[in-house]
Protein backbone atom coordinates (compact mmCIF):
# COMPACT_ATOMS: atom_id res chain seq x y z
CA UNK A 1 0.00 0.00 0.00
CA UNK A 2 1.42 3.37 -1.05
CA UNK A 3 1.34 6.66 0.84
CA UNK A 4 -1.09 7.97 -1.81
CA UNK A 5 -3.49 5.14 -1.04
CA UNK A 6 -3.08 5.51 2.71
CA UNK A 7 -3.63 9.28 2.76
CA UNK A 8 -7.38 9.38 2.14
CA UNK A 9 -7.97 6.36 4.39
CA UNK A 10 -6.10 7.94 7.28
CA UNK A 11 -7.75 11.29 6.71
CA UNK A 12 -11.22 9.81 6.79
CA UNK A 13 -10.46 7.66 9.85
CA UNK A 14 -8.94 10.58 11.73
CA UNK A 15 -12.05 12.63 10.97
CA UNK A 16 -14.29 9.85 12.31
CA UNK A 17 -12.21 9.54 15.48
CA UNK A 18 -12.33 13.31 15.99
CA UNK A 19 -16.10 13.26 15.51
CA UNK A 20 -16.71 10.36 17.87
CA UNK A 21 -14.37 11.66 20.56
CA UNK A 22 -15.47 15.29 20.17
CA UNK A 23 -19.18 14.66 20.49
CA UNK A 24 -18.88 12.08 23.22
CA UNK A 25 -16.58 14.37 25.23
CA UNK A 26 -19.15 17.14 24.95
CA UNK A 27 -21.99 14.90 26.14
CA UNK A 28 -19.84 13.26 28.80
CA UNK A 29 -19.06 16.64 30.37
CA UNK A 30 -22.69 17.68 30.01
CA UNK A 31 -23.98 14.65 31.94
CA UNK A 32 -20.94 13.69 33.99
CA UNK A 33 -20.29 17.07 35.58
CA UNK A 34 -23.70 17.33 37.28
CA UNK A 35 -23.44 13.68 38.30
CA UNK A 36 -20.02 14.31 39.87
CA UNK A 37 -21.36 17.38 41.66
CA UNK A 38 -24.30 15.32 42.91
CA UNK A 39 -21.93 12.66 44.30
CA UNK A 40 -20.24 15.34 46.41
CA UNK A 41 -23.26 17.45 47.36
CA UNK A 42 -25.43 14.52 48.48
CA UNK A 43 -22.64 12.81 50.36
CA UNK A 44 -22.64 12.52 54.14
CA UNK A 45 -21.24 15.85 55.33
CA UNK A 46 -21.90 17.40 51.90
CA UNK A 47 -23.85 20.56 51.21
CA UNK A 48 -27.13 18.68 51.15
CA UNK A 49 -26.57 15.30 52.76
CA UNK A 50 -28.77 12.56 51.27
CA UNK A 51 -26.85 9.34 51.93
CA UNK A 52 -29.52 7.09 50.39
CA UNK A 53 -29.54 9.00 47.11
CA UNK A 54 -25.77 9.15 47.12
CA UNK A 55 -25.58 5.36 47.56
CA UNK A 56 -27.92 4.80 44.62
CA UNK A 57 -25.87 7.15 42.42
CA UNK A 58 -22.70 5.44 43.59
CA UNK A 59 -24.04 2.01 42.60
CA UNK A 60 -25.15 3.26 39.18
CA UNK A 61 -21.74 4.77 38.57
CA UNK A 62 -19.97 1.59 39.67
CA UNK A 63 -22.15 -0.60 37.43
CA UNK A 64 -21.34 1.69 34.51
CA UNK A 65 -17.66 1.44 35.27
CA UNK A 66 -17.52 -2.30 35.75
CA UNK A 67 -18.61 -3.16 32.18
CA UNK A 68 -15.84 -3.48 29.58
CA UNK A 69 -16.57 -0.96 26.86
CA UNK A 70 -17.05 -3.52 24.12
CA UNK A 71 -19.67 -5.35 26.21
CA UNK A 72 -21.39 -2.12 27.14
CA UNK A 73 -21.54 -1.07 23.49
CA UNK A 74 -23.38 -4.23 22.49
CA UNK A 75 -25.51 -4.39 25.62
CA UNK A 76 -27.04 -0.96 25.17
CA UNK A 77 -27.85 -1.31 21.46
CA UNK A 78 -31.61 -0.94 22.10
CA UNK A 79 -30.94 2.27 23.99
CA UNK A 80 -28.71 3.54 21.18
CA UNK A 81 -31.48 2.89 18.67
CA UNK A 82 -33.88 4.82 20.88
CA UNK A 83 -31.58 7.82 21.06
CA UNK A 84 -30.14 8.19 17.55
CA UNK A 85 -32.46 5.95 15.55
CA UNK A 86 -29.66 3.71 14.29
CA UNK A 87 -27.29 1.14 15.77
CA UNK A 88 -24.43 1.41 13.30
CA UNK A 89 -22.16 4.21 12.15
CA UNK A 90 -20.27 7.03 13.79
CA UNK A 91 -23.32 8.67 15.38
CA UNK A 92 -24.34 5.36 16.93
CA UNK A 93 -20.92 5.03 18.60
CA UNK A 94 -21.28 8.37 20.37
CA UNK A 95 -24.07 6.94 22.54
CA UNK A 96 -22.13 4.04 24.10
CA UNK A 97 -18.99 6.16 24.30
CA UNK A 98 -20.90 8.73 26.32
CA UNK A 99 -22.62 6.11 28.48
CA UNK A 100 -19.26 4.47 29.13
CA UNK A 101 -17.39 7.69 29.91
CA UNK A 102 -19.97 9.48 32.07
CA UNK A 103 -19.46 7.33 35.22
CA UNK A 104 -15.69 7.44 34.75
CA UNK A 105 -15.71 11.23 34.36
CA UNK A 106 -18.17 11.68 37.24
CA UNK A 107 -15.77 9.88 39.60
CA UNK A 108 -12.93 12.13 38.45
CA UNK A 109 -15.12 15.20 39.00
CA UNK A 110 -15.98 13.92 42.46
CA UNK A 111 -12.29 13.55 43.32
CA UNK A 112 -11.45 17.01 41.97
CA UNK A 113 -14.26 18.64 43.97
CA UNK A 114 -13.18 16.88 47.15
CA UNK A 115 -9.80 18.56 46.80
CA UNK A 116 -11.47 21.90 47.55
CA UNK A 117 -10.80 22.72 51.18
CA UNK A 118 -13.66 22.28 53.64
CA UNK A 119 -12.64 25.58 55.24
CA UNK A 120 -13.29 27.48 52.01
CA UNK A 121 -16.75 25.95 51.70
CA UNK A 122 -17.52 26.76 55.34
CA UNK A 123 -16.27 30.32 54.90
CA UNK A 124 -18.77 30.71 52.05
CA UNK A 125 -21.53 29.27 54.23
CA UNK A 126 -20.59 31.69 56.99
CA UNK A 127 -20.99 34.51 54.47
CA UNK A 128 -24.55 33.41 53.87
CA UNK A 129 -24.00 31.82 50.47
CA UNK A 130 -26.65 29.29 49.43
CA UNK A 131 -25.88 25.82 48.06
CA UNK A 132 -26.18 26.77 44.39
CA UNK A 133 -23.88 29.74 44.88
CA UNK A 134 -21.34 27.57 46.66
CA UNK A 135 -21.32 25.01 43.84
CA UNK A 136 -21.14 27.68 41.11
CA UNK A 137 -18.81 30.19 42.73
CA UNK A 138 -16.68 28.12 45.09
CA UNK A 139 -16.55 24.39 44.29
CA UNK A 140 -16.38 24.52 40.49
CA UNK A 141 -13.98 27.51 40.13
CA UNK A 142 -11.69 26.24 42.89
CA UNK A 143 -11.62 22.76 41.34
CA UNK A 144 -11.19 24.04 37.77
CA UNK A 145 -7.58 22.89 37.28
CA UNK A 146 -8.59 19.43 38.54
CA UNK A 147 -11.64 19.43 36.27
CA UNK A 148 -9.49 20.26 33.25
CA UNK A 149 -7.21 17.36 34.16
CA UNK A 150 -10.30 15.15 34.45
CA UNK A 151 -11.47 16.13 30.95
CA UNK A 152 -7.99 15.43 29.58
CA UNK A 153 -7.89 11.95 31.07
CA UNK A 154 -11.42 11.31 29.80
CA UNK A 155 -10.58 12.39 26.23
CA UNK A 156 -7.61 10.04 26.21
CA UNK A 157 -9.80 7.22 27.53
CA UNK A 158 -12.41 7.99 24.87
CA UNK A 159 -9.79 7.73 22.13
CA UNK A 160 -8.99 4.30 23.52
CA UNK A 161 -12.65 3.24 23.67
CA UNK A 162 -13.28 4.56 20.16
CA UNK A 163 -10.84 2.01 18.77
CA UNK A 164 -13.56 -0.58 19.38
CA UNK A 165 -16.09 1.42 17.43
CA UNK A 166 -15.38 -0.65 14.33
CA UNK A 167 -17.42 -3.41 15.89
CA UNK A 168 -20.57 -1.44 15.16
CA UNK A 169 -19.32 0.30 12.03
CA UNK A 170 -18.18 3.52 13.58
CA UNK A 171 -14.84 3.68 11.80
CA UNK A 172 -11.97 5.71 13.14
CA UNK A 173 -8.22 5.19 13.48
CA UNK A 174 -8.47 2.14 15.71
CA UNK A 175 -10.82 0.44 13.29
CA UNK A 176 -8.48 1.26 10.40
CA UNK A 177 -5.59 -0.38 12.22
CA UNK A 178 -7.64 -3.50 12.88
CA UNK A 179 -9.05 -3.86 9.36
CA UNK A 180 -5.95 -3.00 7.34
CA UNK A 181 -3.06 -3.52 9.72
CA UNK A 182 -4.27 -6.74 11.32
CA UNK A 183 -6.69 -8.37 8.88
CA UNK A 184 -4.85 -7.37 5.67
CA UNK A 185 -1.27 -7.40 6.93
CA UNK A 186 -0.65 -3.77 5.94
CA UNK A 187 2.17 -3.34 8.44
CA UNK A 188 3.11 0.15 7.29
CA UNK A 189 -0.43 1.42 7.78
CA UNK A 190 -0.49 -0.21 11.19
CA UNK A 191 2.70 1.61 12.18
CA UNK A 192 1.46 4.94 10.83
CA UNK A 193 -1.80 4.58 12.74
CA UNK A 194 -0.03 3.69 15.94
CA UNK A 195 2.30 6.69 15.59
CA UNK A 196 -0.66 8.94 14.85
CA UNK A 197 -2.50 7.75 17.96
CA UNK A 198 0.55 8.16 20.17
CA UNK A 199 1.16 11.69 18.88
CA UNK A 200 -2.51 12.57 19.28
CA UNK A 201 -2.65 11.38 22.88
CA UNK A 202 0.61 13.17 23.69
CA UNK A 203 -0.71 16.41 22.23
CA UNK A 204 -3.97 16.22 24.14
CA UNK A 205 -2.27 15.40 27.43
CA UNK A 206 0.26 18.21 27.05
CA UNK A 207 -2.43 20.69 26.12
CA UNK A 208 -4.54 19.62 29.13
CA UNK A 209 -1.56 19.88 31.47
CA UNK A 210 -0.73 23.33 30.16
CA UNK A 211 -4.26 24.63 30.61
CA UNK A 212 -4.54 23.11 34.10
CA UNK A 213 -1.25 24.71 35.12
CA UNK A 214 -2.32 28.10 33.78
CA UNK A 215 -5.55 27.91 35.76
CA UNK A 216 -3.93 26.87 39.02
CA UNK A 217 -3.04 29.65 41.45
CA UNK A 218 -2.20 27.48 44.41
Amino acid sequence: MTWDEMGPLLWEAAGQTAQMVGWSTLFTVLFGLPLGVALVVFDRGGLRPAPALKSVLGVVVNVGRSLPFIVLMIAIIPFTRLVVGTTIGTAAVVVPLTVGAVPFFARLVETALREVGADVVQAAQAMGAGRTTIVRKVLLPEALPGLVAAVTVTVVALIGYSAMAGTIGGGGLGDLAVRYGYQRFETLLMIVTVVLLVVLVQLIQSLGDLVARRLSHK
Binding site: G117, D119, M127, G128, A129, P141, L215, K218
Partner: protein, 314 residues
Amino acid sequence: MIQASGLRKVYGNTVALDGVDLRVREGEIYGVLGQSGAGKSTLLRCVNLLERPTAGTVTVAGQDLTALRSGELNRARQRIGMIHQHFALLSSRTVAGNVAFPLEVMGVPRAERERRVAELLDLVGLGGRGGDRPSRLSGGQKQRVGIARALAGNPSVLLSDEATSALDPATTQSILALLKRLNTELGLTILLITHEMNVVKSVCDSVAIMADGRVEESGTIADLIRTPGSRLTREIFPLPEPAPAGSVTLTFTGDPRQAVVSEVVRKFDVDVNILGGSIEDLAGGAVGRLRVSFSGGEEAGALDFLRSRGVLVS
Protein backbone atom coordinates in the same frame (compact mmCIF):
# COMPACT_ATOMS: atom_id res chain seq x y z
CA MET B 1 -25.10 41.71 71.10
CA ILE B 2 -24.47 37.99 71.20
CA GLN B 3 -26.35 35.87 73.66
CA ALA B 4 -26.12 32.11 73.86
CA SER B 5 -27.96 30.14 76.47
CA GLY B 6 -27.86 26.52 77.43
CA LEU B 7 -25.82 25.50 74.39
CA ARG B 8 -25.23 21.78 74.09
CA LYS B 9 -23.60 20.04 71.17
CA VAL B 10 -23.26 16.29 71.10
CA TYR B 11 -21.52 14.26 68.38
CA GLY B 12 -22.37 10.63 68.87
CA ASN B 13 -20.97 9.87 72.30
CA THR B 14 -18.85 12.98 72.55
CA VAL B 15 -20.19 16.01 74.35
CA ALA B 16 -18.48 19.03 72.76
CA LEU B 17 -20.55 21.68 74.53
CA ASP B 18 -22.11 20.94 77.86
CA GLY B 19 -24.50 23.77 78.73
CA VAL B 20 -22.66 26.93 77.71
CA ASP B 21 -24.01 30.43 78.35
CA LEU B 22 -22.35 33.39 76.71
CA ARG B 23 -23.18 37.06 76.79
CA VAL B 24 -21.18 39.45 74.61
CA ARG B 25 -22.03 43.12 75.04
CA GLU B 26 -22.18 45.52 72.12
CA GLY B 27 -18.82 47.03 71.18
CA GLU B 28 -16.60 44.77 73.24
CA ILE B 29 -13.90 42.31 72.30
CA TYR B 30 -14.75 39.04 73.94
CA GLY B 31 -12.20 36.25 74.08
CA VAL B 32 -12.91 32.58 74.56
CA LEU B 33 -9.78 30.95 75.86
CA GLY B 34 -9.12 27.24 76.09
CA GLN B 35 -6.94 24.31 75.10
CA SER B 36 -7.70 22.51 71.87
CA GLY B 37 -10.61 20.17 72.45
CA ALA B 38 -12.14 22.47 75.07
CA GLY B 39 -15.10 23.13 72.77
CA LYS B 40 -14.35 26.76 71.94
CA SER B 41 -14.30 26.17 68.20
CA THR B 42 -17.65 24.37 68.37
CA LEU B 43 -18.99 27.26 70.43
CA LEU B 44 -17.93 29.81 67.82
CA ARG B 45 -19.40 27.75 65.01
CA CYS B 46 -22.66 27.48 66.93
CA VAL B 47 -22.89 31.27 67.05
CA ASN B 48 -23.45 31.55 63.29
CA LEU B 49 -24.97 28.08 63.15
CA LEU B 50 -22.26 26.49 61.02
CA GLU B 51 -22.93 23.83 63.64
CA ARG B 52 -26.50 23.50 64.78
CA PRO B 53 -26.53 23.13 68.57
CA THR B 54 -28.20 20.01 69.95
CA ALA B 55 -29.98 22.22 72.47
CA GLY B 56 -30.01 25.89 73.41
CA THR B 57 -30.52 29.18 71.62
CA VAL B 58 -28.29 31.76 69.99
CA THR B 59 -29.33 35.38 69.61
CA VAL B 60 -27.23 37.80 67.58
CA ALA B 61 -28.22 41.48 67.37
CA GLY B 62 -31.61 40.64 68.81
CA GLN B 63 -32.38 37.89 66.30
CA ASP B 64 -32.84 34.30 67.46
CA LEU B 65 -30.79 32.46 64.83
CA THR B 66 -31.82 29.00 65.99
CA ALA B 67 -35.43 29.83 65.01
CA LEU B 68 -34.62 30.90 61.43
CA ARG B 69 -35.22 28.92 58.24
CA SER B 70 -32.27 28.47 55.91
CA GLY B 71 -32.96 31.45 53.61
CA GLU B 72 -33.42 33.79 56.57
CA LEU B 73 -30.38 32.31 58.26
CA ASN B 74 -28.28 33.05 55.17
CA ARG B 75 -29.41 36.68 55.26
CA ALA B 76 -28.61 36.90 58.97
CA ARG B 77 -25.16 35.42 58.33
CA GLN B 78 -24.41 38.19 55.86
CA ARG B 79 -24.46 40.53 58.84
CA ILE B 80 -22.01 38.38 60.83
CA GLY B 81 -18.41 38.51 59.66
CA MET B 82 -16.06 35.58 60.21
CA ILE B 83 -12.31 35.17 59.88
CA HIS B 84 -10.49 31.86 59.90
CA GLN B 85 -7.26 30.35 61.15
CA HIS B 86 -6.10 29.36 57.67
CA PHE B 87 -7.70 32.38 56.01
CA ALA B 88 -10.00 30.31 53.75
CA LEU B 89 -9.43 32.50 50.70
CA LEU B 90 -10.47 31.39 47.22
CA SER B 91 -7.33 30.63 45.24
CA SER B 92 -9.29 30.95 41.99
CA ARG B 93 -9.93 34.64 42.67
CA THR B 94 -7.79 37.73 43.06
CA VAL B 95 -7.61 39.61 46.34
CA ALA B 96 -10.33 41.98 45.11
CA GLY B 97 -12.39 39.01 43.89
CA ASN B 98 -12.24 37.46 47.34
CA VAL B 99 -13.43 40.64 49.03
CA ALA B 100 -16.15 40.98 46.40
CA PHE B 101 -17.47 37.46 47.03
CA PRO B 102 -19.80 38.28 49.96
CA LEU B 103 -21.01 41.35 48.06
CA GLU B 104 -21.91 39.10 45.11
CA VAL B 105 -23.74 36.80 47.50
CA MET B 106 -25.69 39.81 48.77
CA GLY B 107 -26.52 40.89 45.23
CA VAL B 108 -24.66 44.21 45.32
CA PRO B 109 -24.37 45.70 41.78
CA ARG B 110 -20.94 45.62 40.13
CA ALA B 111 -20.06 49.33 40.28
CA GLU B 112 -21.00 49.51 43.94
CA ARG B 113 -19.00 46.33 44.57
CA GLU B 114 -15.84 47.75 43.04
CA ARG B 115 -16.14 50.93 45.07
CA ARG B 116 -16.71 48.99 48.30
CA VAL B 117 -13.85 46.54 47.63
CA ALA B 118 -11.38 49.42 47.15
CA GLU B 119 -12.62 51.03 50.33
CA LEU B 120 -12.28 47.79 52.33
CA LEU B 121 -8.77 47.08 51.03
CA ASP B 122 -7.72 50.58 52.07
CA LEU B 123 -9.24 50.01 55.49
CA VAL B 124 -7.08 46.93 56.13
CA GLY B 125 -3.95 48.46 54.63
CA LEU B 126 -3.93 46.55 51.34
CA GLY B 127 -4.87 49.39 48.99
CA GLY B 128 -3.56 48.69 45.48
CA ARG B 129 -3.09 44.94 46.03
CA GLY B 130 -6.53 44.05 44.68
CA GLY B 131 -5.17 42.48 41.50
CA ASP B 132 -2.80 40.09 43.27
CA ARG B 133 -3.45 36.40 43.79
CA PRO B 134 -3.77 35.35 47.45
CA SER B 135 -0.90 32.89 46.91
CA ARG B 136 1.45 35.86 46.45
CA LEU B 137 0.63 37.33 49.86
CA SER B 138 2.20 36.69 53.26
CA GLY B 139 0.15 35.13 56.05
CA GLY B 140 -0.55 38.48 57.67
CA GLN B 141 -1.66 39.97 54.37
CA LYS B 142 -3.91 36.98 53.71
CA GLN B 143 -5.59 37.50 57.06
CA ARG B 144 -6.06 41.17 56.19
CA VAL B 145 -7.87 40.06 53.04
CA GLY B 146 -9.94 37.75 55.25
CA ILE B 147 -10.80 40.67 57.49
CA ALA B 148 -11.72 42.93 54.56
CA ARG B 149 -13.94 40.16 53.22
CA ALA B 150 -15.58 39.66 56.61
CA LEU B 151 -16.37 43.38 56.82
CA ALA B 152 -17.91 43.60 53.35
CA GLY B 153 -21.48 43.31 54.56
CA ASN B 154 -21.06 45.97 57.27
CA PRO B 155 -21.47 43.38 60.00
CA SER B 156 -22.21 44.36 63.57
CA VAL B 157 -20.38 41.26 64.79
CA LEU B 158 -17.09 39.67 63.80
CA LEU B 159 -16.28 36.07 64.72
CA SER B 160 -12.62 35.17 64.80
CA ASP B 161 -11.68 31.50 64.69
CA GLU B 162 -8.06 31.38 65.93
CA ALA B 163 -7.31 34.10 63.38
CA THR B 164 -3.75 34.65 64.55
CA SER B 165 -2.76 31.09 65.42
CA ALA B 166 -1.03 30.50 62.08
CA LEU B 167 0.93 33.76 62.27
CA ASP B 168 4.28 34.69 63.79
CA PRO B 169 4.33 36.88 66.94
CA ALA B 170 4.99 40.22 65.19
CA THR B 171 2.28 39.59 62.57
CA THR B 172 -0.08 38.43 65.32
CA GLN B 173 0.37 41.77 67.06
CA SER B 174 -0.28 43.73 63.87
CA ILE B 175 -3.48 41.76 63.16
CA LEU B 176 -4.61 42.21 66.77
CA ALA B 177 -3.92 45.95 66.48
CA LEU B 178 -6.04 46.03 63.33
CA LEU B 179 -8.90 44.22 65.09
CA LYS B 180 -8.66 46.62 68.01
CA ARG B 181 -8.77 49.59 65.62
CA LEU B 182 -11.84 48.21 63.82
CA ASN B 183 -13.45 47.62 67.20
CA THR B 184 -12.88 51.24 68.20
CA GLU B 185 -13.49 52.95 64.86
CA LEU B 186 -16.44 50.93 63.63
CA GLY B 187 -17.88 49.94 67.00
CA LEU B 188 -17.52 46.34 65.84
CA THR B 189 -18.31 43.68 68.43
CA ILE B 190 -15.71 40.91 68.19
CA LEU B 191 -15.99 37.38 69.53
CA LEU B 192 -12.69 35.59 69.19
CA ILE B 193 -11.50 32.19 70.22
CA THR B 194 -7.88 31.50 70.94
CA HIS B 195 -5.56 29.25 72.88
CA GLU B 196 -3.09 32.09 73.41
CA MET B 197 -3.31 34.08 76.63
CA ASN B 198 -1.32 36.77 74.85
CA VAL B 199 -4.27 37.47 72.54
CA VAL B 200 -6.60 37.85 75.49
CA LYS B 201 -4.17 40.11 77.30
CA SER B 202 -3.60 42.40 74.33
CA VAL B 203 -7.12 43.06 73.06
CA CYS B 204 -9.92 41.52 75.07
CA ASP B 205 -12.33 43.41 77.31
CA SER B 206 -13.99 40.23 78.52
CA VAL B 207 -13.07 36.59 78.56
CA ALA B 208 -14.56 33.16 79.04
CA ILE B 209 -12.25 30.34 79.97
CA MET B 210 -13.38 26.97 78.64
CA ALA B 211 -12.44 23.42 79.50
CA ASP B 212 -14.20 20.15 78.67
CA GLY B 213 -17.14 21.82 76.94
CA ARG B 214 -17.96 24.12 79.84
CA VAL B 215 -17.23 27.72 80.68
CA GLU B 216 -15.14 27.68 83.86
CA GLU B 217 -15.28 31.39 84.47
CA SER B 218 -16.30 34.45 82.50
CA GLY B 219 -16.61 38.16 82.92
CA THR B 220 -14.78 41.37 82.17
CA ILE B 221 -11.04 41.10 82.63
CA ALA B 222 -11.14 43.94 85.17
CA ASP B 223 -13.65 42.02 87.29
CA LEU B 224 -11.87 38.69 87.03
CA ILE B 225 -8.55 40.23 88.04
CA ARG B 226 -10.25 41.57 91.15
CA THR B 227 -11.80 38.21 91.96
CA PRO B 228 -9.60 36.36 94.45
CA GLY B 229 -8.45 33.02 93.13
CA SER B 230 -9.72 33.49 89.58
CA ARG B 231 -8.12 31.23 87.00
CA LEU B 232 -7.43 34.16 84.72
CA THR B 233 -5.34 35.93 87.36
CA ARG B 234 -3.44 32.78 88.16
CA GLU B 235 -2.67 32.18 84.53
CA ILE B 236 -1.68 35.73 83.67
CA PHE B 237 0.41 36.13 86.82
CA PRO B 238 1.81 32.76 87.69
CA LEU B 239 3.06 32.72 91.29
CA PRO B 240 4.48 29.66 93.00
CA GLU B 241 1.72 27.56 94.56
CA PRO B 242 0.88 26.89 97.31
CA ALA B 243 1.60 30.27 98.86
CA PRO B 244 4.05 30.00 101.76
CA ALA B 245 2.49 30.37 105.21
CA GLY B 246 2.21 33.98 106.30
CA SER B 247 2.50 35.44 102.84
CA VAL B 248 -0.14 37.65 101.20
CA THR B 249 -0.86 38.33 97.56
CA LEU B 250 -1.41 41.92 96.52
CA THR B 251 -3.17 42.77 93.27
CA PHE B 252 -2.70 46.31 92.01
CA THR B 253 -5.22 47.51 89.45
CA GLY B 254 -5.41 51.23 88.78
CA ASP B 255 -1.96 52.78 88.45
CA PRO B 256 0.71 50.26 89.47
CA ARG B 257 3.39 52.93 89.49
CA GLN B 258 2.13 54.40 92.77
CA ALA B 259 4.77 53.76 95.39
CA VAL B 260 2.28 52.12 97.77
CA VAL B 261 4.67 49.48 99.06
CA SER B 262 7.40 51.90 100.13
CA GLU B 263 4.71 54.07 101.71
CA VAL B 264 3.61 51.07 103.77
CA VAL B 265 7.15 50.40 104.86
CA ARG B 266 7.63 53.97 106.07
CA LYS B 267 4.24 54.35 107.74
CA PHE B 268 3.94 51.04 109.53
CA ASP B 269 7.58 50.20 110.10
CA VAL B 270 7.29 46.75 108.53
CA ASP B 271 9.82 44.81 106.50
CA VAL B 272 8.44 43.70 103.17
CA ASN B 273 9.90 40.61 101.64
CA ILE B 274 8.91 40.28 97.96
CA LEU B 275 8.54 36.61 97.03
CA GLY B 276 7.38 37.03 93.45
CA GLY B 277 5.33 39.15 91.14
CA SER B 278 4.88 40.83 87.80
CA ILE B 279 3.15 43.67 86.01
CA GLU B 280 1.15 43.12 82.83
CA ASP B 281 -0.35 45.58 80.37
CA LEU B 282 -3.91 44.45 79.82
CA ALA B 283 -6.47 45.99 77.50
CA GLY B 284 -8.06 47.81 80.45
CA GLY B 285 -4.77 49.18 81.82
CA ALA B 286 -1.73 47.90 83.68
CA VAL B 287 -2.18 45.36 86.46
CA GLY B 288 0.42 44.16 88.94
CA ARG B 289 0.46 41.21 91.27
CA LEU B 290 2.92 40.77 94.13
CA ARG B 291 3.40 38.06 96.70
CA VAL B 292 4.96 39.44 99.83
CA SER B 293 5.46 38.58 103.47
CA PHE B 294 5.60 41.17 106.24
CA SER B 295 7.70 40.99 109.34
CA GLY B 296 7.85 43.32 112.33
CA GLY B 297 5.73 46.44 112.77
CA GLU B 298 1.94 46.67 112.47
CA GLU B 299 1.07 44.09 109.84
CA ALA B 300 -2.71 44.41 110.28
CA GLY B 301 -2.57 48.16 109.94
CA ALA B 302 -0.41 47.86 106.86
CA LEU B 303 -2.94 45.54 105.17
CA ASP B 304 -5.83 47.87 105.99
CA PHE B 305 -3.89 50.75 104.50
CA LEU B 306 -3.25 48.78 101.31
CA ARG B 307 -6.95 47.93 101.01
CA SER B 308 -7.82 51.59 101.48
CA ARG B 309 -5.57 52.38 98.49
CA GLY B 310 -7.54 50.00 96.29
CA VAL B 311 -5.09 47.10 96.48
CA LEU B 312 -6.67 43.68 96.53
CA VAL B 313 -5.26 41.66 99.41
CA SER B 314 -5.65 37.91 99.54
